[in-house]
Symmetry: C2
C-alpha cells in the first residue's frame, strides 16, 4: 500500500493527454503537489489516501487556464457598458483606475477575482495589471496558480510613475517569486502602441534574462494596426518581430487584425496567441482568426480579458462561445470541434505559458490541478459525449471541487481558503464608495 | 389588511414595464395567479400574505420567455455535434427521431426539458414538436407556461402519418387546451420548404379560426432561400406574404437570410421573429440581422432552439450571446444594449406570442411569472447596473426561485413539482438504450 495524500475514485476523466485519453470510470492518485497515478477503477486499491473523493457521477478535467485577464478589474465590473470604445476607456475605465487602483485596492479586488475564477473551474490565470506583488501574496494564500506580470507602459500607471519604475517592479517580482510553486512571475508590456521600442526591448531582455513568459496585447483593434503601420511602416506583428520581441516565451492577447504574413510570423517564431471571444465581441474590436492560426501551427489559448470588457471571468462561457463563433464566421459547423476547444482552454494555456510539462492535463508527473464537474444535472443528461457536454452544455456552476497543486481549494462548491462572505461585503462597500 | 397569497419583499426589481421602471428595494404582491401590486419597500404593509419571500440581496425579473425550441429533443442532447449539417440531420437527428420519438418518449423527455428550463429561469416557452398533447398534460402538472404546436410537415412525422392527421391533432390540441391558464395551443407548420402551400394555408386558417399563434421556421439556411426562390420566384418571406401567412399572430424562427424588402414585409405585416443565436452559430446557418429588424420595427424575441443544436435550453446564455454577437457583427459596441436584450427575452417573447397583456413584465394585472436571482455571488458583485449584470455577468445558476402563474415552482434552486432525481435517472437510462 502506497501512502498518498488524495485519491479521487469512480470518476469519469478527460485527461487531455496527447492521445486525448478518456476514462469512463477511473481514479487519480495525488501525492503532495503531483499526480502520481491515473487509471481505471479497481487499480486504485494499492493506494492508501489521507483524503478520498468519491467521484461517482462526476467528471474530472484538468483545471482551466485563463490565459489573459486583468483580474483585479472585477471591482469595476459593469461600471460602463454598451458605450463607444473611446468614451468607455477615456471617460470611465482610465479615470476609475487613476482614482481607485492602489495596493490596497489590488489586495481586496484580487480576492474577489480569485474566488470567481476558482469556483468556475479556473486553476491558473495569466494576469497583466498593477501592484502584482501585492496580488501575489494574496493569491498564494488563496491557492490559485497565478502567472503575474506588472503592466508596463510609457506613461505613468496607478502604481509606477515611470517605465523604469515599472521595469524595476517587474524585475523585483521575478526575483521574489521565481521558484514559487504557485506564483509565476512574467513580464507584461502593455502593447506596441503604448510602449516605446526601448521599453519593449527591455521587457524582452528581462524575459530572456530570467527565462519567464512575456505577454502583450497585440492587434486588438484596427486603428492600432493602422497607427503602427503608419509610424513604423509595417504591421504590429512584423514590428515586434523586427524588435526580436516574438518567440516561444512570448504570448499575445487578442490578435484580431492580422494578415497571412503575420500569421506565418507568429507560427515561425512560435509566439502564442490568447483568444478572448466574449471581450472581443462585447467591445466590437474584431475577430481573432483562430481556425487559421491553428491551421498555420500557431499555439492558441483562451482568456476572459478583464471584467470591464466581459463582464465575468468564466472560462466555460469562453469555451462555448469560441466553439460556436468560429463555426458561424467560417460558415462551417465542423470548425473547432468541442474537444479542440477544450484543449485550447487547458493544454493550450499551458503551452503558451511554457508550463506544458507542469499543468494542462491529467497525467502522471504533472501538478494536480484538477476540477470535478457534477454530471447529475438536468442540463447534463443524457450524456453521449463528454467533451461535447462540457463545451456546449455545462456551466461553471457545475464545478463542485477544485484542486490546485494537490490541495482542495473548492469543495462542494464552497471555497475553503478565504472568507467569501467578507470578500463580497467588501466589494459591495466599494461599489457604494464608487457610486457616491 | 388585504389577504394575498404571496408577498416578495425587500427585493430589487427590474419590472420591464414600458418605462423600464426599476426598484432598488421593492415588493411584489400576488393574489391567485396575478400580480396585484408592485411598489417600494414599506408600502407592502397593507398586505397579509400566506407565503412570504424575503428578497434581500435578490433581484426579481419577469420570467424569461424561450420563444423557439423543440424541448423534448433534450433526450438527444449531444448525440451528434460538430458535423456537416446534412450528415447531422440525415444520419443522426432524423433516424433518432424516427426510431425513438413516440408519446412515451415525449412524456419523459419533456419533464427533463421543463426542469432544465424552470431551474434556469424560463417560465414560458414556445414549442414545435410532436405529441404535444401528451407533453401538455405533463407540463401542466409541472407548472410551466407552455405554448405548444404540433409540428406539421408534408411527410410522415413520428406521430402523424399524413399532414391531414397532423392538422387534426393540431385542432384537437387547440380545442382541448384553449382557455387553460398554463397551456396555450398554437399552430406550427415546420417551414416553407417542408410544407406545401396547401398545408401552410390550412395552418393559417386554423390559427385564424381559433385566434391562436402561428409559428414557423423561416430562412434559417441559405439553400432554403435559394430553393424557394427557384421554385416560387420569390423569397421565402415574400412567398409567405403571398400566401397571406404572415401577420400579427405569426412568428418565425431564425430568419437569417433576409433582404431589405423582406425586413419591410415582416415589419408591415407585424410578423414576429425569434432569434436563436447559440443554435445559429453552432450549426453555422447564418446571422439573423437583429439590429436591422428592430430598427425597421419588427418584433423580436429570443429562443434556444432544440438541445441537439444548442445543446442547452439556457436563456441567460442566449441573452449574453445576443448582446455580444451583434456588437461584433456591426463593429459597434453600442449595438443592442443590455436592457434592450433583456427586453427581447421577456416582453419580446410575450409580444410575438400575443401574450403581452398577460406576461413579459412585472406589472399589476399580469400573471405572476417571476424569477428571483441571488445577487450575492462572487461574479455578481460589485453591482453598478442591474440590466448589465443580468445580461453580461449572471448565469442561470443564479436563479433561486421561480414563480409561474402565482405558484412557486422552484424554491432555493430546487424544483418542487416533479421528482428531479427520477427524471435524471430515466434520461440516463435512455442514453444507455440509445448507445447500445
Amino acid at each position: 500500500m502506497e501512502k498518498i495524500d488524495l485519491l479521487i475514485k469512480n470518476v469519469a476523466i478527460l485527461t487531455l493527454d496527447s492521445k486525448n485519453t478518456s476514462l469512463k470510470n477511473g481514479f487519480i492518485a495525488v501525492k503532495k503537489e503531483k499526480i502520481i497515478a491515473v487509471g481505471v477503477s479497481g487499480d486504485e486499491k494499492n493506494y492508501s489516501a489521507k483524503k478520498l473523493i468519491e467521484g461517482r457521477e462526476m467528471l474530472a478535467l484538468p483545471g482551466l487556464i485563463n490565459a489573459h485577464t486583468h483580474a483585479a478589474m472585477v471591482y469595476f465590473r459593469g461600471i460602463a457598458d454598451d458605450l463607444p470604445l473611446k468614451e468607455w476607456l477615456e471617460k470611465h475605465i482610465w479615470p476609475a483606475e487613476a482614482k481607485y487602483v492602489n495596493p490596497h485596492f489590488i489586495r481586496e479586488a484580487i480576492k474577489l477575482a480569485a474566488i470567481e475564477m476558482l469556483k468556475s473551474g479556473t486553476t491558473s490565470f495569466c494576469d497583466m495589471y498593477f501592484a502584482e506583488d501585492e496580488a501575489a501574496e494574496v493569491l498564494e494564500q488563496i491557492g490559485i496558480r497565478s502567472f503575474l506580470g506588472e503592466g508596463l507602459l510609457d506613461f505613468p500607471t496607478p502604481i509606477s510613475s515611470t517605465p523604469e519604475e515599472g521595469l524595476r517592479r517587474a524585475e523585483e517580482l521575478i526575483k521574489k517569486w521565481q521558484g514559487s510553486s504557485l506564483i509565476h512571475p512574467i513580464v507584461a508590456p502593455h502593447a506596441p502602441y503604448t510602449c516605446s521600442a526601448d521599453l519593449l526591448k527591455s521587457a524582452k531582455e528581462l524575459s530572456d534574462k530570467y527565462n519567464v513568459p512575456l505577454h502583450i496585447h497585440l492587434a486588438e483593434e484596427k486603428w492600432e494596426v493602422e497607427k503602427i503601420e503608419e509610424e513604423k511602416g509595417m504591421s504590429p506583428v512584423a514590428y515586434l518581430q523586427d524588435l526580436d520581441f516574438l518567440g516561444k516565451r512570448t504570448s499575445a492577447a487578442h490578435v484580431n487584425w492580422v494578415s497571412e504574413d503575420d500569421v506565418k510570423i507568429l507560427a515561425q517564431t512560435k509566439t502564442g496567441v490568447v483568444h478572448n471571444p466574449e471581450s472581443n465581441l462585447k467591445l466590437a474590436t474584431g475577430f481573432c482568426p483562430v481556425p487559421d492560426l491553428l491551421s498555420a501551427g500557431v499555439k492558441v489559448a483562451l482568456g476572459t480579458d478583464g471584467a470591464t470588457s466581459n463582464n465575468n471571468l468564466d472560462m466555460f462561457e469562453e469555451m462555448s462561445l469560441c466553439a460556436r463563433l468560429h463555426k458561424g464566421l467560417k460558415k462551417d459547423p465542423t470548425t473547432l470541434k468541442a474537444k479542440e476547444v477544450l484543449r485550447l482552454a487547458t493544454m493550450g494555456g499551458a503551452e503558451i505559458l511554457n508550463a506544458q510539462d507542469e499543468i494542462g492535463s491529467i497525467e502522471v508527473g504533472k501538478k494536480a490541478d484538477i476540477i470535478l464537474l457534477d454530471l447529475k444535472q438536468p442540463h447534463l443528461v443524457p450524456l453521449y459525449d463528454l467533451a461535447s457536454q462540457v463545451v456546449y452544455a455545462a456551466k461553471s456552476s457545475d464545478v463542485k471541487t477544485v484542486i490546485v497543486n494537490g490541495k482542495i481549494i473548492v469543495e462542494n462548491g464552497r471555497i475553503l481558503t478565504v472568507d467569501e462572505d467578507e470578500v463580497i461585503a467588501k466589494a459591495q462597500a466599494f461599489a457604494q464608495k464608487f457610486k457616491s
